[in-house]
């Protein structure tokens, strides 16, 4: 690790100010950032810890019925506190990494990082959630812009995520055997006005919506509805754990399983 300054502000306003300084970087749970620092892949001048900001933590039902989750809320808290409101989301959080990762890692950190194999991006895009920052609201469809790329500006803080709560939902994660991130993961959410299907782990462009399946499932929410569809392997990830063709196949299998589990 290179040397850095460390600050731990208590408010979003102070954090935003600290992040305005030269080469400052937000620190969430550190589960992605700290290993990168240890490998000397990253050299921030100042780390601005977000874990002391009370207004960025916790899970609650907003007046409009959406589920509000503070940007610095840990996976373990989402797993327990979202369970009564949005079981599919809580279940997803409960299967991220291991207990140590879940006790420190945060939803804001996961979304800011936007790892192409991460789980939360599928839930956020699949739910049509809104990513709230210290300066604006970003719709999920605008937020994810490719592998490790998001709509966030430098120094912008994810303060909250607002999830519309679907009638039914389920996340199917097929684990990559080494990291146990998603080799491919599919999030299916059925709302009164239609179905959303978000796929993580599969594409070179990060999380994406499988719109053909959404249309088919909106008409008929059953595994059989996607039976006739095929997923193109173009642009899907090839690595030592799987070919594009395999991932394309998994997208369909997992979508069917998610629908079956949700229904």
């Amino acid at each position: 690790m290179y040397n850095f300054e460390f600050v731990k502000p208590a408010t979003i306003a102070d954090a935003a100010k600290a992040l305005g300084t030269e080469e400052a970087q937000a620190l969430g749970g550190g589960q992605t950032l700290i290993p990168a620092l240890k490998q000397r892949l990253n050299a921030p001048a100042t780390l601005v810890s977000l874990s002391g900001i009370g207004e960025m933590k916790g899970v609650c039902r907003a007046d409009d019925g959406t589920l509000a989750i503070g940007g610095a809320t840990t996976h373990v808290t989402v797993a327990s506190e979202a369970a009564a409101h949005y079981p599919a989301l809580a279940a997803l959080a409960s299967h991220i990494g291991d207990p140590a990762v879940r006790n420190r890692g945060t939803i804001g950190g996961s979304l800011a990082n936007n790892d192409p194999a991460a789980c939360y991006p599928a839930a956020v895009l699949g739910s049509g959630a809104t990513v709230k920052t210290n300066t604006r609201d970003i719709a999920a469809d605008d937020y994810f812009q490719g592998m490790f790329t998001t709509a966030l500006h430098d120094g912008e803080i994810i303060t909250e995520v607002r999830f519309p709560v679907p009638q039914k939902a389920n996340y199917q994660k097929f684990v990559q055997p080494a990291s146990r991130f998603a080799l491919t993961g599919v999030y299916v959410a059925k709302f009164a006005d239609g179905v959303r299907v978000a796929v993580t782990g599969a594409s070179e462009n990060g999380v994406f919506r499988w719109t053909e399946a959404e249309a088919a499932l909106s008409a008929d929410f059953s595994p059989a509805a996607v039976e006739g569809l095929t997923v193109s392997a173009d642009g899907l990830i090839r690595d030592i754990h799987g070919t594009p063709e395999y991932r394309a196949h998994l997208v369909k299998v997992l979508t069917k399983r998610a629908v079956a589990a949700a229904a």
């Binding site: 055997p177 080494a178 990291s179 030592i240 754990h241 799987g242 070919t243 395999y246 998994l250 299998v253």
Partner: protein, 788 residues
Amino acid sequence: MPKDTGIGAAKKRREDVRFLTGAGNYTDDINVRGQAYVHFLRSDVAHAKINGIDTSAAAAMPGVVRIFTGADFTGVGGLPCGWQVTDRHGVPMQEPPHPILAQGKVRHVGDPIAAVVADTYEQARDAAEAIVLDLEELPAVVNMGAALKDGATKVHDDLTSNLCYDWVLGQTDDAAVQAAFDAAAHVTTLELTNQRLVANPMEPRVAVAEYSRGTEDYTLYTTSQNPHVIRLLMCAFVLGLPEHKVRVVAPDVGGGFGTKIFHYAEEAFVTFAAKACNRPVKWTASRSEAFMSDAQGRDHVTKIELALDADNNFVALRTNTMANMGAYLSTFSSSVPTWLHGTLMAGNYRTPVIQVNVKAVFTNTVPVDAYRGAGRPEATYQLERVIDKAARELGVDPIKLRRQNFITEFPYDTPVALTYDTGDYNGTMDKLEVAADIVGFAARRAESEKRGKLRGLGVNCYIEACGIAPSNIVGMLGARAGLYDAATVRVNATGSISVMVGAHSHGQGHETAFPQVVAEMIGIDESMVEIVHGDTSKIPFGMGTYGSRSLAVCGSAMVRATEKIINKAKKIAAHLMEASDTDIELKDGRFTVAGTDKSVAWGDVTLTAYVPHNFPLTEIEPGLEETAFYDPANFTYPAGAYACEVEVDPETGKVTVERFAAADDFGNIINPMIVDGQVHGGIGQGIGQALLESCVYDENGQLLTGSYMDYAMPRADDVPFYAVDHSSQTPCTHNPLGVKGCGEAGAIGSPPAVVNAVIDALHSGGMTHVAHIDMPVSPSRVWSAMQG
């Protein structure tokens, strides 16, 4: 009734108390006053010419003590290879130099180029980044087939090619082998890969050295399975130091699995630097460094052919293997694909004609050497896979085919240089059939199919040559060392015993099992016996721990030393009771005069030995301490039969291991609980190899699996509960305890069982076109195979 003490008792491991309560003293726990830290600047390319190394800016960085490069090591020896293999034409293998720090060229990602010694570890790393390298990248040689082609880029410019040796064992006459194949009724052929693995002990390697200007003594603390071997190699071949001035300590080493057998550049470096800097120097590998500098395992590409007659008797076996050596010859690398692999190709079977050919190849990858099983897993895997394929092609039951070809008479001379002293392969297979509940498989398969899953059963046998090894034989085969071991039994005045053993324990439970033997022989409580190991200044000598040799070889030395103790103690007892020593009997810790009620206790005799007021001083010396060296007469031959049941998800190709049963013949058992644990761990590693683990380089020699994000280690939920049976026991005929060794069996026997089971599952689902899937049998590979 099971015994609760002595030989055969399932004693809990006494060392676990300190390991599990944070009281262990691991190598990285050792810090020497005033120590500096070294960071190695390692190559990030697989192959390059070094045109220049500019350390001037780095040397001026804060805290830097000194920066070393290859130039500081001219005149210092390189790391030696401990086994000279002679090729099929009688020519010794090509043996390139293996420098401490790169000389002129780097040959794999991770090859150390420079070493920065600084006050703190972070300062050393900072300074390493300021070193300016002028590297001229060369094409990397990664694929073994390509490495052997004419005109291939050479890993070592001074060698004639990338071929280390072309070795043959068994029937050397190609025409005779071909004739046997031509006469066969059926030939089964299989091409397969035994993939490269990373050993991944829990504690990465560490080395700390200090030098005393006053006494000119060195002490090296290092993560080693064999401190005396390290001292010998480092003193005699690398640094040219007198052995009596060097103490090597291997404390509570956190696992080894083979990769801590070898003598490494880093430990020689810290020893050298401790004097050069006149300051203790410490190195602790990061996990990333471990991935690119610990010797790796396996990496064979093989074609095997099995010939059978019309009655399904095995008549000939031919196997051709390319074995990856990596960029340099690690300490025992050359012996692994030859004498630890080719010699096992007979397996448990009567195959009259066997030819084994191995071509060892240099590539721009991390060196490869022994990893749990070392050669024997590669032999077992190919043999048991080809037998399984043959059974499928011939439509015969795979267990029946094996039984039909078992060796049943002992001693048995194989066509590949070994003499099996004893075994009962049918008896062991009987145990397996019960432990695995083979008859219940059909019902379990039907149940799986109801849930939409394919279920497969895979069975295989294994045999290994352990208790390594008779020095005269291995000497003839090219070993540059003897492979005996040693023990000193020191009885203290009050009767407690310290046993100094050459075998090192880094997870094997020696501190528990060895005292059970000594306590049983004397008839005292085990708590009175303690094992001392891992320190060249305390133990007489020792070749260390590998090849499942500790109990069979070092344990035998301990038995011999204890026998000497008992003989001497009897003389003292005889003197005390004014009887003849030939009349003295030792039982339950008391010496009695046969046929009388006269007796003295163990403690009376030991006290007399050290307080010799009434002592036969003219006949024997006071004190009670004996040393024995033991050189085995033969290898030992643990053997067994394993069965694995898997479920395959036909939609995703995911394999789960549902049941695993092991029947092993380890000869006599000292501590059945420790044996269970060794087998469990070995099977876990074997399942890891079969389903998960793989070390992968890209075509430029970059390591794609340099962390746990991509290198898949088995976890608790990847393995089932195991049924382990070691009641089939044919004691080893040539060592005093009748033991064979159990440390590697699980890792040797399990991979073919898993793969055989997967193939069986796919065939049950109608996918009869799938003859083989290379390990790791990952979901994506299974799915691809299913697509045809």
